[in-house]
């Protein structure tokens, strides 16, 4: 506005942060690709020349070939859809319900304190171990994978939301109460929105936990899914196919990660990153 004065004489040093940021972004993408390429080349080379045992390490070209076969002759695509579907559903359910649980702790400190150790204990149960019980409780269908993805995420989401609740600006609550607000007003208008950054902060971790949960669910029993494919491949020692599964899961997780980054940006719209 007022700063747009005459152009300064040439040869001046002028700081330009946005250009610098852009340059870094561009270089980062180039660097990422370069590293990716380097890994691929090294991997391929090492296995070609026998520095790495290609039986166990497979090789990028083999993985692509086997992966393509799995797409054409196998059911890789529908497996992928199955696994990502269960993961996303479980993630959404776990995050929403977990956040709700965490937020509900705002209503009573007593209640939250009583519940905490039980949540921790439940979280620590290795789900794979309780397969027979889980089969009885949740069956072996698609829902059971969703339930496991849900179970993996719900407690982490609850803990995060509760951290948010504990860090609420008490003065905002006070302000609202002084305006004559009831507790449910405070909850809806202050507690929930001000906990959002905390909930958002665990999305990245939760999406990979949800994926892990789905995979465990498929290990327990499944007719479809990447986890089932990997398990099968491991069982019959088809390590190339194991690698296909691993690579697909890595890509899936990166895609989901980007999804959470986008979600984060969406939820944090109109807020500066928390200090």
């Amino acid at each position: 506005m007022a700063g747009k004065t005459k152009a300064p004489s040439p040869g001046l040093f002028i700081e330009d942060r946005s250009r610098r940021a852009k340059r870094i972004r561009r270089r980062a993408i180039i660097g990422q690709m370069a590293i990716g390429l380097l890994i691929l080349v090294l991997w391929e080379g090492c296995t070609r020349f026998g520095w790495l045992d290609s039986y166990y390490w497979s090789s990028p070209s083999t993985i692509v070939r086997v992966g393509w076969q799995a797409v054409v002759h196998g059911s890789l695509l529908s497996d992928l859809a199955y696994t990502s579907g269960a993961t996303i559903l479980g993630f959404i359910a776990g995050t929403l319900i977990g956040s709700a649980i965490g937020l509900s702790f705002w209503w009573s400190e007593l209640y939250s304190r009583i519940t905490e150790p039980y949540m921790i204990a439940i979280n620590a149960i290795p789900k794979l171990a309780l397969a027979p019980v889980l089969v009885i409780m949740f069956g072996i269908g698609f829902d059971s994978k969703v339930v496991l993805a849900f179970l993996m995420t719900v407690i982490v989401a609850a803990i995060a939301a509760y951290s948010g609740v504990c860090n609420i600006d008490k003065d905002l609550e006070k302000m609202l109460i002084s305006l004559g607000a009831k507790r449910h007003h405070v909850f809806l208008k202050v507690v929930v929105p001000s906990s959002i950054p905390w909930m958002v902060s665990t999305l990245k971790i939760n999406i990979s936990l949800a994926l892990a949960g789905t995979i465990v669910g498929e290990f327990i029993s499944s007719r479809q899914g990447i986890g089932r494919m990997i398990l099968y491949a491991g069982q019959v020692l088809d390590i190339d196919l194991v690698w296909v599964g691993v690579v697909v899961l890595s890509f899936l997780s990166i895609v989901m990660y980007l999804g959470t980054v986008w979600l984060e940006r969406l939820l944090m719209r109109g807020r500066t990153p928390k200090s």
Partner: protein
């Protein structure tokens, strides 16, 4: 109209098993439409007194009435503004100022319609859809005051509302507040550490003793209204300032080196 009465209100806390007096019994009657300032050393219980009036804390003894109705321990009867603007960072300015209306159950749409002219009239036109982050400190306090005004309470408590602003913005805000007070005829209770500010704005100034707080003196500010920047150069202004400075100095425990007796402040 309404008169705010504080009858023998005190406040004790229990800390490490001993009783701790924050405010000694205070009795105060504020007539409707008056601008009252309260000054006193840090930690003397000014904020605690305000919390009691606003119903956020229960007095240990005594009673508070508004137009004769007891309001002790009840919230929602008076407006309250703090040094921190306390705008909700995730809401736009417009949605921030209507929050009291929302709580009362008005629809957002109606509340917004009522708020927009207010924002425009009082210097926030064009910022309705911005988030608080985008505004300067002075503008944020302005939004906070408009929120309080929209709540439409007869009595408004201000607890160092301009304490975090720089001196020039502060002066603008004082003038602006006087203008609004003049238009709305509210009863105002105003806590400040700035003696100039207290004199410039008030009809009456209560001086509190150091902790535990008690009313030490009540000073009438007999300066003509409307006041402006030249008021501050008047002899009577300077005389009042000298008086008040003297009184406050008496309440300062160690005039040279000690800060605020360990109360955390600032920043």
């Amino acid at each position: 109209m309404s008169e705010l009465a504080i009858n023998h209100c005190s406040k004790y806390f229990k800390k490490d098993a001993i009783n701790f007096c924050a405010v000694q019994p205070i009795t105060m009657h504020v007539e409707s439409g008056q601008f009252i300032s309260i000054i006193g050393p840090s930690g003397c219980g000014k904020s605690t007194l305000f919390n009691m009036i606003a119903g956020l804390e229960r007095p240990s003894e005594g009673e508070i009435t508004l137009s004769g109705m007891p309001i002790t321990g009840e919230t929602g009867h008076v407006g309250y503004m703090l040094q921190k603007d306390l705008l909700l960072p995730w809401r736009t300015i417009l949605d921030n100022v209507i929050i009291a209306l929302e709580i009362r159950g008005m629809s957002r749409k109606e509340a917004r319609q009522r708020a927009i002219p207010m924002l425009q009239k009082y210097g926030l036109g064009g910022f309705e859809r911005d988030h608080p982050d985008a505004l300067s400190g002075g503008m944020r306090q302005r939004a906070g005051l408009i929120r309080t005004l929209l709540d439409d309470k007869q009595v408004i408590l201000f607890d160092e509302p301009f304490g975090a602003l720089d001196a020039q913005t502060r002066l603008q805000m004082q003038n602006w507040l006087l203008k609004i007070w003049n238009e709305f005829k509210k009863t105002v209770l105003f806590v400040t550490h700035d003696i100039d500010e207290a004199i410039y704005l008030s009809d009456e100034i209560y001086v509190f003793t150091k902790r535990p707080g008690r009313i030490k003196a009540k000073v009438q500010v007999d300066l003509a209204r409307p006041r402006n920047e030249t008021t501050m150069m008047e002899a009577r202004f300077l005389q009042l300032k000298r008086e008040l400075l003297l009184m406050l100095n008496e309440e300062r425990p160690h005039p040279e080196f000690d800060g605020n007796e360990g109360d955390a402040h600032g920043g």
